[in-house]
Amino acid sequence: MIHQTVAIALLLAALGPSSAGAQTPAQSTASPQPKTFDEAVRQTRPNTMRERPRPSTQVAVLDLMLDADAGRLRAARLEGMRVVSANAPKVFERSRGSWEVRLLGRGEAVSYRIPNPLEDIEVENPPDSAAPFSQARPSGPVAVQLIVPLARKGQALDVQRIEIVDTVSGRTVVETAVRR
């Protein structure tokens, strides 16, 4: 099947205007409406076939170990933190929930909300259940990885410390210096 995809691309390239050395521009993001998965794959092929450099922005990956009692937080500790090169996940855009992640540095403090990870675990119910899902309330150690952006809209935030606060209890869950 890929032979067909490639064939179409070759055919279009061959029949289209000749422009030696010209690069295919990136796909526009304006309201694409392909009807099928295959159309979407084909339309974005000029983008997906391009390797690009690693992003210049960074995120901190926090490995937390939460000690839970039926979904309630008893204790938390930071098991590790590493900084990796990545574009920021859209945490600022979807900022909602009862935990606040505070990015502290020399500039103005920046923060966003996330749901309490111990209350953000959902399980499929058996088929004969009244509701298809329910919340899972874990007990014991729960490993949680949080991806914390160190940039916003492509601009580094100069984050020196990260603080995570449960706004319901007012308790600081973890805080850590950012070591790059």
């Binding site: 099947m1 890929i2 032979h3 067909q4 995809t5 070759l10 061959a14 029949l15 000749s18 796909q27 993001t29 304006a30 309201s31 409406q33 392909p34 009807k35 099928t36 998965f37 295959d38 979407a40 794959v41 084909r42 974005t44 092929r45 983008n47 390797e51 450099p53 690693r54 992003p55 995120v59 990956v61 990796v84 990545a86 574009n87 920021a88 996940p89 859209k90 855009e93 979807r94 909602r96 929930g97 009862s98 749901p115 990870p117 209350e119 953000d120 675990i121 959902e122 399980v123 499929e124 119910n125 058996p126 298809p132 899902f133 919340q135 874990p138 949680v144 990885q145 949080l146 991806i147």
Partner: protein
């Protein structure tokens, strides 16, 4: 000129030899999105990722070695099912499909029946927190039957559990709480969920559909839902993927419009939309 003619001839012959439908094929997979990365773009409207929510598919080891074309093809075809029969059967996702990039990783994980608790035992490949750190949702696809779970941005699913995929994705991508009673994940997220009747009934943002009704969670907290009469994907009482409610869309639009242009769905729950390619 001769080479262009030959190129066209080869392409035309390939088309004739192939079947009528043109599908994505594992024979010529895209390169990694960056040198040394295990992540590849599958549908990538914005390679800068600045204007999209980014969804990363992770294979279970049951797909086998993904350097084998047939195994990668099986994985692609399951992703196709999830996108076409899951996400795109929800009108809000479909009319805004340019706001979603889809990726896959060749680093496999495992999901198996739980040894303790009710969620599957999952081994995530370490690369999802490095190469895939950009992802707003990490979805591990497995073919064995399990009661799946979502933990924040990470979830497991069979490729045919369409409702689960859309419901859990809507949590992870938009931070929209559950709306079913009584043991879901709840937090204040206006105009979906409120902590009081006064707040719900006084919020101009829900005036168009306001039907504020309370429920008490198993934890004992009382919540107020603004779209009580509407059974939507976050209530998920139906047996198939259903649409978002107008309150859900208000939050989705808030998130998506921060990334770029959006389109308002033409169908809201409890009506449903059938996307037939």
């Amino acid at each position: 000129m001769a080479s262009r003619f030959l190129q066209a001839l080869v392409a035309f012959a390939s088309l004739l030899l192939g079947a009528c439908t043109v599908e994505f094929d594992a024979g010529n997979p895209p390169p990694p999105i960056a040198p040394g990365s295990t992540v590849h773009g599958l549908i990538e409207w914005d390679p800068s990722q600045a204007s999209t929510l980014n969804i990363l598919f992770v294979p279970d080891t049951s797909y086998g070695d993904l350097s084998v074309e047939a195994n990668l093809q099986a994985f692609f075809e399951d992703i196709e099912l999830v996108i076409e029969q899951g996400y795109w059967q929800n009108n809000a996702y479909y009319v805004n499909l340019g706001r979603f990039n889809y990726y896959y990783t060749t680093a496999a994980g495992t999901a198996s029946a739980p040894t303790t608790g009710i969620c599957p035992d999952v081994t995530w490949p370490a690369q999802v927190d490095t190469d895939g750190a950009f992802a707003d949702l990490v979805l591990l696809l497995h073919t064995n039957s399990l009661r799946d779970c979502r933990w924040g941005r990470k979830a497991t699913s069979e490729p045919t559990s369409y409702r689960t995929v859309v419901h859990e994705s809507t949590h992870a991508l938009f931070n929209i709480p559950d709306e079913y009673c009584c043991d879901g994940g709840y937090y204040v997220a206006q105009p979906v969920l409120y902590s009081s009747s006064a707040n719900c009934n006084a919020d101009a943002a829900n005036a168009a559909w306001r039907d504020c009704v309370s429920f008490t969670s198993t934890g004992g907290t009382t919540w107020w839902r603004s779209e009580d009469s509407i059974s939507d994907i976050m209530v998920s009482a139906g047996s198939v993927v259903v649409e978002v409610g107008p309150a859900d869309w208000a939050i989705m639009e808030d998130v998506l419009s921060a990334l770029g242009a959006t389109s308002t769905p033409s169908v809201f729950a409890p009506a449903s939309w059938d996307h037939t390619p």
